[in-house]
């Protein structure tokens, strides 16, 4: 039973355009959401996060939007660059229960074409 879902296994965009990666979750106890980027043979690298008390967080070219009523978040990258090509994982956690373990989606492979 997947609590975090990334329904698009892959996405291809042109350099300079916007990349939009989507993520849905089912557990209403999740109150913190993160995006990680992963290159081959490396570990996931933290990209950006958002708390459930916000609906938007921006860091340079990266913006994460959270829609709690729809249990949906998205990562926008603009403008996209070839170096952004990687697998992007959506992750969620809850501050309840004493363990801040991350629950991950399966990832979306982003390819940015020059």
């Amino acid at each position: 039973d997947q609590q975090v879902k990334q329904n698009s296994p892959s996405l291809s965009v042109q350099e300079g355009r916007i990349s939009i990666l989507n993520c849905d979750y089912t557990n209403s106890m999740f109150d913190y959401f993160l995006w990680y980027k992963k290159y081959p043979a490396e570990g996931p690298t933290f990209l950006i996060s958002i708390s459930s008390i916000k609906d938007k967080n921006e860091d340079g070219r990266f913006t994460v939007f959270l829609n709690k009523s729809a249990k949906h978040l998205s990562l926008h990258i603009v403008p996209s660059q070839p170096g952004d090509s990687a697998v992007y994982f959506c992750a969620a956690s809850t501050s309840q229960g004493g363990s801040e373990k991350l629950v991950f989606g399966k990832g979306t492979k982003l390819t940015v074409n020059p």
Binding site: L34, E42, G43, F89, S99, E100, K101, F104, K106, G107
Partner: protein, 113 residues
């Protein structure tokens, strides 16, 4: 500042053998997590240490897996005896406090033949 390090980077063993994976967290990070990614699937939580204590081991698959963090510094994850389905990439992550960002190591790719 050094990041999370893991050793070995790759391990190939026969079914029934024992393997021990090691993780060195970022210095000063009390929280240490183990995760695993089986081929094509999501990264799944295994367990969480706070210093030397196990805070949450709800993700450990079975009693063939034993994790330790003596002294609250580095951690080891032992698989004994290894089975074919244990193959995957084992990631370690650390954070300063439980609510802080988790920083991941490069992972250990385990192949059980």
């Amino acid at each position: 500042e050094a990041g999370v390090t893991q050793f070995p980077s790759h391990s190939v063993i026969e079914k029934g053998q024992t393997v021990t994976l090691r993780c060195d967290p970022i210095s000063g990070h009390d929280n240490l997590y183990w995760y695993r990614r089986v081929m094509g699937k999501e990264i799944k939580f295994l367990l969480h240490f706070v210093k030397e204590s196990k805070q949450d081991e709800s993700g450990m698959p079975n009693n063939r897996f034993l994790a330790e963090r003596t002294g609250g510094t580095y951690s080891t994850l032992k698989v004994q005896p290894a089975e074919l389905e244990d193959s995957g990439v084992y990631f370690c992550a650390s954070s300063q406090s439980g609510l802080d960002t988790q920083y991941f190591g490069p992972g250990t790719r385990l192949t059980v033949l």
